[in-house]
């Protein structure tokens, strides 16, 4: 039950959010109280992002649709847990989507074994995906440029982890590098990306 209501007293005024990125947040807020129209709108807005991400990891079309359904039902179920202070709505949604897609990838171990063998071959092109819209192209080029600033090992380890859904130990095996080194390189690389991409909290 909701027990973690903060003990703040000054709560009478309504939350007026005027920032441009708050639209999806307001939609999520309405979703959290059972507003299906808001959910429908939010779905239309973010489902191509979610589906693109899921499909990237899972490849298989029908599995990707299944996982996308799980993700949106989870959004419906746990919209009330979204905390706008901890990032935007799309951040929350894409983080959840990636987590779900990774879980599914790992659930099918036999295909994983196959992937580990062929994964090496594709690793350099994992994030090299041509896209049509200007916005996506911009994001893509930004990320690509930032990726170029990484060492080879950092880039490979991060790419395999995020776009391939591989665990540290799988990446370690694929690249024949000790797992401790993988962890360090991933952290160093992510910090570098954070700085290159100007992410601050």
């Amino acid at each position: 039950m909701p027990e973690s209501v903060p003990g703040e007293s000054d709560v009478s005024e309504n939350f007026q959010d005027s920032s441009p990125t708050s639209r999806q947040q307001r939609l999520l807020e309405r979703v959290s109280i059972g507003d299906q129209a808001a959910f429908s709108e939010l779905y239309d807005e973010v489902s191509p992002r979610v589906f693109g991400l899921v499909k990237r990891l899972l490849v298989d079309h029908s599995q990707s649709e299944e996982v996308t359904q799980e993700i949106f039902l989870e959004i419906w179920q746990s919209a009330s847990r979204f905390d706008p202070n901890k990032g935007g709505a799309s951040t929350w949604i894409l983080t959840m989507a990636h987590r779900r897609a990774v879980d599914r990838v790992r659930a099918s171990q036999s295909s994983r074994d196959r992937d580990i063998r062929i994964g090496i071959r594709d690793r350099d092109s994992e994030y090299d995906h041509v896209s049509e819209s200007v916005e996506v192209k911009f994001e893509h080029e930004r990320v690509e440029r930032a990726m170029e600033r990484l060492t080879e090992l950092q880039r490979q380890a991060i790419t395999l982890s995020y776009y391939g859904g591989y665990t540290n130990s799988e990446v370690s095996e694929m690249l024949s590098v000790p797992i401790g080194t993988i962890k360090t390189r991933i952290r160093d690389g992510m910090i570098r990306l954070r700085d290159e991409l100007d992410v601050t909290s």
Partner: protein, 272 residues
């Protein structure tokens, strides 16, 4: 806590969801419980690196899913309970990742204001009361007094498969005595599901039963017992396989169901 282990090197892998389940749990526990100054730094780092990981996701080309997927998802909303805000459960949502570690951090003024407003909106409080039916304790989701078990999971998976099929279709019809029924089917998969809303609840000695009614000879084949919640919503993937053009019927039967229909159907929907 094991102060000896250096957890900070896991931040990047955690943000990429690259830790194995045990190490992930260990790391999350550390973030929750450790009061060390350096853990505070790790929490911040996890949040930033998680946001960075999202940018990797935004670099992927969007792909629009099939319209049928949305139909299937929308059809499930009314039977999918929503969580009340605020309660902490470690395994039921995405915010086991970057969102939680900072919960203990001292909020700034803007955050306090936003947070207070977020949690205390009166409408949300009402929704909480309604959602109390769907109580969440220790990660177990209890839906309308029926726990989410493997049967429900299989049902959900099958419904997703039908909705996701390229040839998925749906048809809505009123139910005699109140409510509406929606049939979702795929001829390709040879299967269908009935989603109802607003249907009357039955006494304990009666069950709703589903039937496939053969398009050729009109014979009704039993296709499963349908239990609905007190709220009158529910869905059921039918047992057995559907032939093209078969109709789906719903009758009221003695509890446990019958071999052949003993009453006339309260709704019949023809697939086409």
């Amino acid at each position: 806590m094991t102060a000896a282990k250096d957890f900070s090197i896991l931040s990047g892998s955690y943000a990429l969801h690259a830790l194995g389940p045990e190490e992930r749990a260990e790391f999350e526990q550390h973030l929750r419980e450790s009061a060390l100054q350096e853990t505070e730094q790790t929490r911040n780092e996890v949040t930033e690196l998680s946001d960075t990981a999202v940018l990797l996701g935004l670099a992927i080309a969007p792909v629009t899913p099939s319209p049928a997927l949305k139909v299937g998802i929308m059809a499930k909303l009314s039977s999918t309970p929503q969580l009340p805000p605020g309660s902490v459960s470690s395994n039921q949502s995405a915010d086991a990742t970057s969102r939680r570690p900072l919960d203990d951090a001292a909020p700034g003024p803007a955050e306090r204001k936003a947070r207070a407003a977020w949690f205390l909106r009166p409408v949300t409080a009402l929704a909480c009361a309604a959602a109390a039916v769907a109580l969440i304790i220790g990660g177990g989701v209890i839906v309308n007094n029926v726990s989410v078990d493997s049967f429900e999971q299989a049902q959900a998976d099958q419904l997703a498969a039908i909705s996701a099929a390229d040839d998925a279709q749906r048809r809505v019809s009123p139910i005699e005595g109140g409510g509406t029924a929606t049939l979702v089917w795929s001829n390709e998969l040879g299967t269908s599901a009935l989603v109802v809303a607003g249907i009357a609840s039955l006494p304990a000695d009666r069950s709703y039963q589903l039937w496939y009614i053969d398009a050729g000879d009109g014979v009704a084949r039993p296709a499963g017992i349908f239990s609905t919640a007190a709220t009158g919503v529910g869905s059921r993937v039918l047992d057995g396989s559907m032939g093209a053009g078969d109709a789906v019927g719903l009758t009221v039967e003695p509890a446990g169901g019958s071999a052949t229909p003993s009453t006339s159907p309260i709704v019949v929907i023809e697939s086409a």
